[in-house]
Symmetry: C2
Subunit: 447 residues, 2 copies
């Protein structure tokens, strides 16, 4: 794919006097102030909308052959250099790691799950601790999702209508209602830098008609989320849906992209569809979104996915995969994923990956990791998670640098030539193991 | 108890020309060389015995009211200040913690289990990694037990006779034989600084006659272990047995205490008997042991146990309790053990223990720990283990200082007045939970 995309090496600041507005139809180039409160985005009923947030995004370099771009996002808790990969702290903790360790290996922003934290310990508790930052002691930027994805995949769904969604907690069976407004209230209590609105995510396979209705509901909910937002120090991103249908994707991207969100998340992908289909949907979606806002591909991905997503204009990624795979024995190397429990590591005196600069490879042999993994030792989960996350952070940093250097395409080919992705069979097996662990009620594997 | 014990503020060095001998009947005061190779300890058949190790022990201060004493042990991997509490790294890893963290919170020496490491990954593998030090990257002193206790409690015992013990692995059912000689060979492959000989440990309750036979076998095995030892850079400790019978304890302490071991471990206690009985056995055992060798009370204990053991002349303690209790929600404070999962911590914004200087209390609230514990988050196990181990290290350091200051008895009373030990009911319940977890095959809880 060759893409000659526009590149704005500019900052669009979206904050004025504490009250903040984004304007997707108008790009204030070379300016650090933007449209005022009276300039609202066009939206179906022209109601004034509450809006985006004090988030400024600068595109600093673009690839001339793909949609890849490098930039930075300024948030109340610091700058995020993009493209960025964010680890997931489902329960306000990236499994087994401390905030200090995450900083040391290069984490810039953490994603936490509204669904889990809403159920336990609850938004009021977290608010009284000073939000997620005070609670978890992670001092950098945080993004919270809307809980929608988990309600549909983990909760026992009771009722879904335009008002919202009623579900039973997977923890204790208690019944809860989430509406677009309620989700915003909860996320304001959590206090993340970037928040997402409630959306309806459909699985794959599904029906066209069902997917269209879900998309339309997601659009109506997006408007309500914007209207419900009250905090001026949080950035609300819109979520594009549209299943795997090109027309729906295009329609959703245009609709959501036209609303005054501070950035855009692409949802409903990586839910079981073939990867080629996911990339096709990105090729359709991204060109419909504003150039001046960050784009987040939800729930993706693996090392090779970073290249494919970045090439299609994605700025932000999040996924449990690196840490979940690590806990199940899969460690990333430049040659692909290896299974540390396999006999070939039993007597390996060197590190898992001699080219790796993570704390694990700096100190421990692959043979010792092998032993810890086979023994089910708690230390294994830490050391493996540190390794895989450091691999992801270092890889995305190399990708970012290559965009500045004009060598992204070369890096992409050389990486993908060497790196052997996990086969579909391995991926399916690991997914089964994970589902089985979740079913057993293990606390350690889901994630 | 008031005890006017002798105190030797002297170093007894037990190493001469790489070949090293201890001599319990002769105390070389104020000397850093001791008896030569021709001076062997009297032993039943007067055979020349291979012997102790390059370990020197200095008693630096004694309590005038109890048998408490403070000193230091020089080992090939550094000095151990006594009394000392050592954490247990069953599988060459103190559960969830790195060697670096252990050093930072004050660990001086780690105990590892020969039984577990013999079965997996095996002594040959560990030897090729440079022993346990090279394998685990813990650079300080290490002690390995003999595996006997685990064979009797974990393995499926097949046959026990004077030659040794045949058992089936709890991992895969494979059959193995451990003899006194084999255990020494294995421990020499592991390369710990301090090693223990195979002994026969009987449970409580038991029969007098059975306990006497086990003790006598332990004594015969002790001689064979001394004879089998070949490495001059490891210190072999003897193990005193004798069940809970005063006469057997006295006999065993005299017999083992008269042999040229570099130190003495007291085994067969804390196996189910009432605590008062354990302390009574120590009161009988310790006076029979040489003053110039360190004394290790195996598998003990809790914070309050440190005071009782030190008062009776114990220099070294090891126990999984602080880390195992931590993983099950029990955190130490100066007021006693608290259950972090209890509702009262839900909104506690301060640390678990405001007087604690551990990394956990320095950074995280009790409310966040409560949330992690309730969520079964892996990070909880780390933070809790760090806290409880730091509590133990700090407590034993305070005990040591009080011996120098002549205030040990005051510290003991003031600590025991305030600290409420876990009730027998709580201890029994936690033991049940641990056994249940082990039965389920959970890797995370057994310790």
């Amino acid at each position: 794919m060759v893409f000659q995309g526009p590149c704005y090496n500019k900052t669009w600041s979206l904050s004025i006097n504490g009250k903040v507005y984004g304007q997707s139809g108008m790009i204030a180039r070379n300016a650090s102030i933007s449209s005022g409160p009276d300039q609202q985005a066009s939206s179906p009923d022209h109601r004034p909308l509450s809006s985006a947030a004090p988030l400024s995004f600068t595109v600093e370099a673009c690839c001339t052959q793909t949609r890849a771009r490098a930039g930075s996002i300024q948030t109340p808790h610091g700058v995020i250099r993009t493209p960025v990969f964010m680890p997931v702290g489902t329960q306000a903790s990236v499994k087994s790691l401390t905030p200090r360790e995450l900083r040391e290996i290069g984490a810039q922003i953490i994603l936490s799950n509204t669904y889990h934290l809403y159920l336990r310990p609850g938004p009021e508790v977290i608010a009284r601790f000073g939000g997620l930052h005070g609670f978890s002691r992670w001092t950098g930027p945080i993004l919270t999702d809307s809980g929608g994805f988990q309600v549909f995949s983990l909760g026992h769904l009771r009722r879904l209508n335009d008002d919202g969604v009623t579900f039973k907690s997977h923890l204790d069976g208690s019944e809860h209602i989430l509406t677009p407004e309620k989700v915003i209230t909860v996320e304001e209590q959590f206090g993340a830098d970037i928040i997402l609105p409630l959306d309806e995510c459909v699985p794959y396979p599904y029906t066209y008609e069902g997917a269209r209705l879900a998309m339309e509901r997601t659009h109506r909910w997006a408007r309500r989320a914007l209207a419900a937002k009250t905090r001026s120090d949080q950035a609300l991103f819109g979520i594009v849906q549209g299943w795997v249908d090109p027309d729906l994707r295009r329609e959703s991207a245009r609709f959501i992209g036209n609303m005054p969100f501070a950035g855009f998340a692409i949802g409903g992908l990586s839910v079981g569809e073939p990867k080629a289909m996911m990339w096709e949907m990105l090729d359709i979606t991204v060109p419909e979104l504003p150039e001046d806002k960050p784009r987040h591909l939800l729930g993706v991905g693996s090392p090779e996915d970073l290249f494919e997503g970045v090439a299609r204009g994605i700025d932000m990624f999040d996924c449990v995969l690196p840490t979940r795979v690590a806990r199940n024995g899969g460690l990333f190397t430049l040659d692909g994923r290896v299974n540390i429990a396999s006999a070939r590591f039993r007597e390996e005196h060197g590190p898992v990956d001699p080219s790796c600069d993570c704390p694990t490879c700096a100190e421990f042999s692959a043979g010792y990791l092998h032993h810890l993994a086979r023994s089910g030792e708690l230390l294994y989960y830490r050391l493996a998670s540190l390794h895989n996350l450091r691999f992801m952070f270092r890889l995305i940093d190399r990708i970012r640098q290559s965009i500045f250097d004009g060598t992204f395409s070369e890096l992409r080919s050389s990486f993908l030539t060497r790196y052997v992705p996990a086969s579909e069979a391995v991926r399916a097996e690991q997914r089964q193991r994970w589902l089985a662990a979740r079913k057993r009620g293990s606390h350690h594997h889901p994630g």
